[in-house]
């Protein structure tokens, strides 16, 4: 509806409609509030302009009025707050079976790795109608992955993963911006989001790939010798990683954490920080020995060891890409 209106950004994701609806609501509400204030201002200014012999009438105030014009705006504010929070929760809750794509930001480019093994720079190919979850980290400073047509943005931090997700609704090429100032070429850290029909996307994703990301991870896992301690057949000197991803882990210091992407990442780069209960602090840190891309591959591999867990959706989608779309619980929200 709004796609051809000038001065309005394109709507190309399920989220765009939600954000625009709230935005239009706010335009109407604040438009009415300012109209009311400005109408009063202009009317009073004209009606009560100074006329000789007509003194001002002194009015002390009115508690009833004060309460009214505090309570009504507050109620309106609470509606906006709640609506904004609902949209935000949608934005921040990736569907469990979303296709996962790894993003590594650096000054001044976006590096993208698909689970299938395709790599891109300053470009991201995605199919229409599929949930895509971006797992992002930065090699240097803070960046922010912003797609105006999808109405989503998330800062990308060094030293941890942040996540955002979307479902594209319209084929096309959309802007990708870095939205957090990151140095000299900040404004050059832009790219394209290429949304394709599923068939085109299949052709693209299967062309010239080096094999799935998790396979790369498995290779690195062997090369770095991780496999000698983290054995898959028996319990070695390190924890057995089969089926660990996404599960709660008991730590030596008594805490329990969930083995998510950030936890696996931290265990590789700072193994002492959250040591699993019952294991000796013998694992060396791999900080500086592995690149962000290699960490991503390792994380993808460890996820693939929990085959039934969400992490594997990427490979599952590869074979049945178009069939996943109608199965989404929120599929009805598309347009």
């Amino acid at each position: 509806m709004l796609n051809n209106f000038p001065l309005w950004p394109e709507q190309a994701s399920t989220m765009a409609a939600h954000v625009d609806a709230l935005y239009i609501f706010l335009l109407i509400v604040t438009g009415m509030m300012s109209l009311l204030v400005f109408a009063c201002l202009i009317f009073f200014a004209a009606r009560f302009r100074h006329r000789p012999g007509v003194p001002a009438e002194q009015i002390e105030g009115s508690t009833a009025l004060e309460i009214t014009w505090s309570a009504i705006p507050f109620l309106i504010f609470m509606v906006i707050f709640a609506w904004g929070a609902i949209v935000f929760f949608k934005e921040r809750t990736p569907p469990a079976d979303a296709t996962e794509v790894y993003v590594v930001a650096k000054q001044w480019m976006w590096k993208v790795e698909h689970a299938e093994g395709q790599r891109e720079i300053n470009e991201l190919h995605v199919p229409v109608g599929r949930d895509v979850k971006l797992i992002m980290t930065s090699q240097d400073v803070i960046h922010s992955f912003y797609i105006p047509a999808f109405r989503i943005k998330q800062d990308v931090l060094p030293g941890r993963y942040t996540v955002e997700w979307f479902r594209a609704t319209k084929p096309g090429v959309y802007h990708l911006f870095c939205a957090e100032y990151c140095g000299t070429q900040h404004s050059g850290m832009v790219g394209d989001i290429v949304v394709q029909e599923p068939a085109q996307y299949e052709a693209w994703i299967n062309g010239g790939s080096t094999g799935p990301l998790s396979a790369t991870g498995e290779k690195i896992f062997a090369e770095l010798g991780c496999v000698t301690c983290h054995r898959s057949d028996t319990q070695g000197r390190g924890p057995n990683l089969q089926g660990v991803f996404g599960m709660p882990v008991q730590l030596e210091d008594g805490r329990t954490v969930t083995a998510d992407e950030n936890y696996v990442r931290e265990c590789i780069l700072d193994p002492g920080a959250k040591r699993v209960k019952g294991f000796q602090p013998i694992m060396p840190t791999f900080q500086g020995l592995v690149s962000e891309e290699q960490v991503n591959a390792l994380v993808a591999y460890i996820k693939s060891l929990s085959a039934a867990k969400p992490g594997n959706a990427g490979e599952k989608n590869k074979t049945s890409a178009s069939s996943t779309a109608p199965a989404q619980p929120n599929g009805s929200q598309v347009q």
Partner: protein, 556 residues
């Protein structure tokens, strides 16, 4: 009757000027070593005007670069330094000291009937600290500058950029102490130095606003000082505080930075609210509607203002639950501002409204602040914030508050109290024209930026050749900035002109309430010939207008 002590003797027109704070002593040292709050206010006026035009010059270059999508006027690094230095100069060396250090310094003792601030020497020290900080900032700019944005985000500022972070930080650190000392002086003065009969409920709302501001300056500024020290420590000593590679946390920096820098916005806007309150009361000849609600809303803003900092960080990586809390609290802080706007509007009702230049600025403030405040509701809504944060929407929003609000208030106040400060009247026609030009120029500059922001143009972009569709609105904005520049130059010219050629001002040219109008223009060094005794409420316009209903003597 009872105020006969404060009313100066009706002297016969005399060629010899009365002795006042301006002509009491001459010579450079009588200014540089003065402890008179009014002279210190003028020292501040000169220095912040200097920095305002430096910051404005940077803004002009930014707008010229953005006239075309390609980065063609300056280098990328130069552009990044321009917006950084524009922000730092305008925030720390113009907006924060603007109303408090100039109008506040001049008026707080006068309005409460005191001879001076509680600590006159500390007041002078605070100006010297400001100047030392300012000279350091100038040196920093002239020898390379900084390119982090005024927000200094780590780890870019601590581990990546090779520009002069530590020097700029130190300049802000020193200037921060100037701000702390001013706040301290105001708090003590307002508590301890009020004239007999000047109870808290008789204080002008300008004083309430400055009291609230001072609390923020006292409690908030040390936090930015600590943050700057931590940045310097990480840069110089490689301590792992913010950079994850050294074991630090970059979000910690943002929490600390915004814990000061959000309340800092209220350091800028609260005094402007105080100014506008005085102007609206005077030019509608009325007491302020809901005095106590306006007074306490200032305090509420100061308190809630400390609890909303993380609304700058909704997409920075904080948890969704903390985002929820900070979104809610942001609506809580919006409420007292809304209450103020409603009370100002209600004050006009059944008033006797005059349209002199200060009132035009006050109307401009009301319009721009309302738009700025309402767009804050957009930014506080989590779902929308994700889309518009770090875009031109935010740039437009905070300029509506900090320039549309604070600078309009500052200019309105300068016009309103100029006869008291200089003893001369400014040319009214020019002043009205300037108010109109500023209002039009401002809207033309910043309204298109709301549209740009929702369309998705990120802030701090030097080159937008990837998205040429943004050019039309950018051209509008640059055109507006040119108009705005003219609007800001005009008052400077005619204020200077009026110091020599302006008509001498009477003691109370507006027939305004407030103790500052009950002494001479310009006031004598110790403000009042005899200590005033207050027996009336603030804004007693009924009494002021009663004796001569036919003709309200408003100067032209």
């Amino acid at each position: 009757m009872s105020m006969s002590t404060a009313i100066p003797q009706p002297t016969i027109p005399h060629p010899v000027e009365r002795e006042n704070y301006l002509n009491k002593e001459y010579g450079v040292w009588s200014w540089l070593l003065t402890t008179d709050h009014k002279r210190i206010a003028l020292l501040y006026l000169l220095s912040i005007t200097f920095f305002f035009f430096i910051g404005g010059f940077f803004a002009l270059l930014i707008r010229l670069e953005l006239l075309t999508p390609a980065g063609d006027l300056v280098q990328a690094d130069t552009y990044n330094k321009l917006f950084t230095m524009h922000g730092m100069v305008m925030v720390f060396f113009f907006l924060i000291p603007s109303i408090p250090a100039v109008l506040g310094n001049f008026l707080v003792p006068l309005m409460i009937g005191a001879k001076d601030l509680a600590f006159p020497r500390i007041n002078l020290l605070s100006w010297y600290l400001y100047i030392i900080g300012g000279v350091m900032m100038l040196h920093c700019m002239l020898t390379g500058g900084v390119d982090t944005g005024w927000t200094f985000y780590a780890p870019f500022s601590t581990s990546f950029t090779n520009t002069k972070i530590v020097e700029a930080g130190l300049a802000i650190f020193v200037a921060g102490f100037s701000s702390i000392l001013t706040g301290l002086n105001f708090v003590v003065t307002i508590h301890r130095m009020r004239a007999p009969g000047m109870t808290w409920s008789r204080l002008p709302l300008f004083i309430w606003a400055h009291y609230a501001t001072s609390i923020i300056q006292l409690l908030g500024t040390p936090v930015i000082a600590v943050t700057i020290v931590l940045v310097a420590a990480e840069r110089a000593l490689h301590l792992g505080i913010f950079d994850p590679k050294l074991g630090g946390d970059p979000l910690l920096f943002q929490h600390l930075f915004w814990f000061y820098s959000h309340p800092a916005v209220y350091i800028m806007i609260l005094p402007a609210m105080g100014v506008v309150t005085e102007i609206i009361a005077c030019f509608s000849r009325k007491r302020i509607f809901g005095y106590s609600f306006v007074a306490f809303s200032s305090i509420a803003i100061a308190v809630f203002g400390f609890l909303v900092w993380a609304h700058h960080m909704f997409v920075a990586g904080i948890s969704i639950y903390s985002a929820l809390v900070f979104s809610f609290l942001s609506y809580a802080v919006a409420l007292p501002s809304a209450i103020k706007v409603f009370n100002w509007t209600a004050t006009l009702y059944k008033g006797s409204i005059h349209y002199d230049a200060p009132m035009l600025y006050a109307f401009g403030f009301l319009g721009l602040f309302t738009i700025g405040g309402l767009t804050g509701l957009f930014l506080s809504a989590l779902g929308i914030n994700v889309h518009v944060t770090d875009t031109y929407f935010v740039v437009a929003h905070f300029h509506y508050i900090m320039v549309g609000g604070a600078v309009m208030g500052y200019l309105g106040g300068m016009h309103f109290w100029w006869p008291k400060i200089s003893g001369r009247l400014y040319p009214e026609g020019w002043a009205r024209l300037a108010a109109l030009i500023v209002f039009i120029g401002f809207n033309l500059t910043f309204f298109p930026q709301f549209l740009l922001g929702y369309m998705g143009m990120p802030r701090r972009y030097y080159d937008y050749s990837h998205m040429p569709e943004f050019q039309v609105l950018n051209v509008l904005s640059t055109a507006g900035a040119t108009v705005l520049g003219v609007g800001y130059l005009l008052p400077m010219i005619y204020f200077l002109w009026s110091m020599r050629y302006g008509k001498p001002a009477s003691d109370n040219p507006w027939n305004a309430a407030g103790l500052e109008w009950k002494t001479a223009s310009p006031p004598p060094t110790f403000n009042f010939d005899e200590e005033p005794v207050v027996t009336w409420e603030a804004y007693n316009y009924e009494q002021l207008d009663a004796p001569h209903k036919e003709e309200v003597p408003v100067a032209r």
